[in-house]
Symmetry: C2
Subunit: 283 residues, 2 copies
């Protein structure tokens, strides 16, 4: 069985994808107000979550994405206590955030309750911390949710789908401005920022907007085998913070329990290829 990102197919001549062999029927298949949510067992990658047929996460390779989106911004913050995760209803990002001993509260704002329900049932290693007492789940549209949040978060992680369907409003200047206002002093925002190879235009457009809103906008990249092109980018954004490791002891603790993250990699991921620099530069 083959899953391709149909969106990329439309906008990009490169037809990348990953071959995932489905074993048996769907474990979960429901249509929500927003999208079709499916989970099935795969050969080799464990259970796989798709939204509208697009690959979202798999048990075997989810650590690439979740460690990258969480540990780089959190270890660049002196003392992250209050964290917001937008999207990410599978719970993988929340799980990584909670590995930081400083974190006291994680708000998860996911628009689609079925993603949470399906993940709790069929992706237990990914959703394992969604019932943690430090987590508050808001099944809401993040565009509305963020509007009245002022000066509350240390780190905001935007674990969104691509700029299509329910995710479109998460890629606008207005939204980024509201996210900025939700930050405390020293706050950091990191959205996933698409594939620098498989969808250059979307990535470029996103960085143009981010540069309008934040003083510091730095791309960082890493491998994600099941995503188009196998290589993904994230944006480190802040008005008053750099990407240096702030608490080396906490970072070393994270390194010990990670498959990917280490304190060298923390810096290495920012040393991006020339073509990524160009896509992310401030005009």
């Amino acid at each position: 069985m083959l899953f391709k990102n149909k969106y990329y197919k439309e906008i990009n001549p490169l037809k990348y994808g990953v071959i995932i062999e489905k074993e048996g029927g769907n474990l979960y298949s429901e249509k929500s107000k927003f999208q079709k949510v499916e989970i099935f067992k795969s050969t080799g990658l464990g259970n796989v979550l798709t939204l509208d047929g697009l690959m979202m996460t798999s048990v075997e390779d989810e650590f690439f994405y979740h460690e990258m989106i969480a540990h780089i911004p959190l270890n660049s913050h002196k003392n992250p206590k209050n964290v917001l995760v937008i999207g990410g209803g599978d719970g993988g990002t929340v799980r990584e955030v909670l590995k930081h001993s400083s974190v006291e509260n994680v708000d998860l704002c996911e628009i689609d309750s079925l993603v949470i329900e399906a993940s709790k049932k069929f992706l237990p290693t990914i959703s394992s911390k969604l019932d943690d007492s430090r987590v508050k789940i808001y099944v809401e549209d993040a565009i509305k949710f963020i509007k009245d949040k002022k000066n509350c978060y240390d780190v905001v992680l935007i674990d969104s789908t691509d700029p299509m369907g329910p995710g479109v409003g998460l890629f606008t200047e207005e939204f980024y401005n509201n996210v900025k206002e939700s930050l405390r002093e020293g706050g950091i925002v990191t959205p996933q920022s698409e594939s620098p190879f498989a969808n250059k235009n979307e990535m470029r457009n996103m960085y143009i907007l981010l540069h309008k809103v934040f003083n510091t906008v730095m791309p960082y990249c890493g491998p994600i085998p099941t995503y188009p092109g196998g290589y993904w980018s994230f944006a480190f954004c802040s008005n008053d913070e750099n990407n240096q490791i702030k608490d080396i002891n906490r970072a070393k603790e994270i390194e010990k329990i990670s498959k990917l993250y280490n304190t060298d990699l923390h810096y290495g991921v920012f040393m991006v290829p020339n073509f990524v620099r160009k896509l992310a530069e401030n005009e």
Copy 2:
């Protein structure tokens, strides 16, 4: 049309691959003594070379591999004059090597003349420097070729296929020892060292052998969208040299004309994930 690395399929449960849409019939299709050599036009990736149906290189994404295998070791050498490329009959590695102004001679040792012939005809942007006066082409088995080469090369790049078929003998301790003896003082060897995600066992076995032969063995990694897992490793090997940039002016010249390489990336690629460190460590 779908190309998967059949070898990985046999040994690894993960069934990665890249979807490449073929346009029209083959531009080239010949059976040599060693393998089936084919070139076809693809949608989006330009012309594609396959050996025994396995993806080797495409016009659009070849720069990832060829810049990585060439510029990291060459810029870590003070003054590389004499370079050997083993395999790499498509000419991409030779082309990148010749961008270094210090290089006076490149020996290319490719076992299969049809790979060279096909690449010259149908991959002109990749094979563009095979007729350069600094290049000597040897259509020979590198295992035999290397045996009487003592103290001649500054850099040896092993641009091999995977450890199967004609490539098997390029993954042995005896071969690596002969390569070591072919080096001048300060010499550097870099073989491609397989995918750390799609074929862990082969990578691990390779590093065990390399550590037996060389004092310094460091993995470095980068994205290659059309290879299994989308992420590839290379081994920086030497007995008396480190991976620091030795001639910053030459490195900056290379940066100016590269899609991938820059002097930050030179260091970033060595800052590898924990699971890659483990695969490459000395027991």
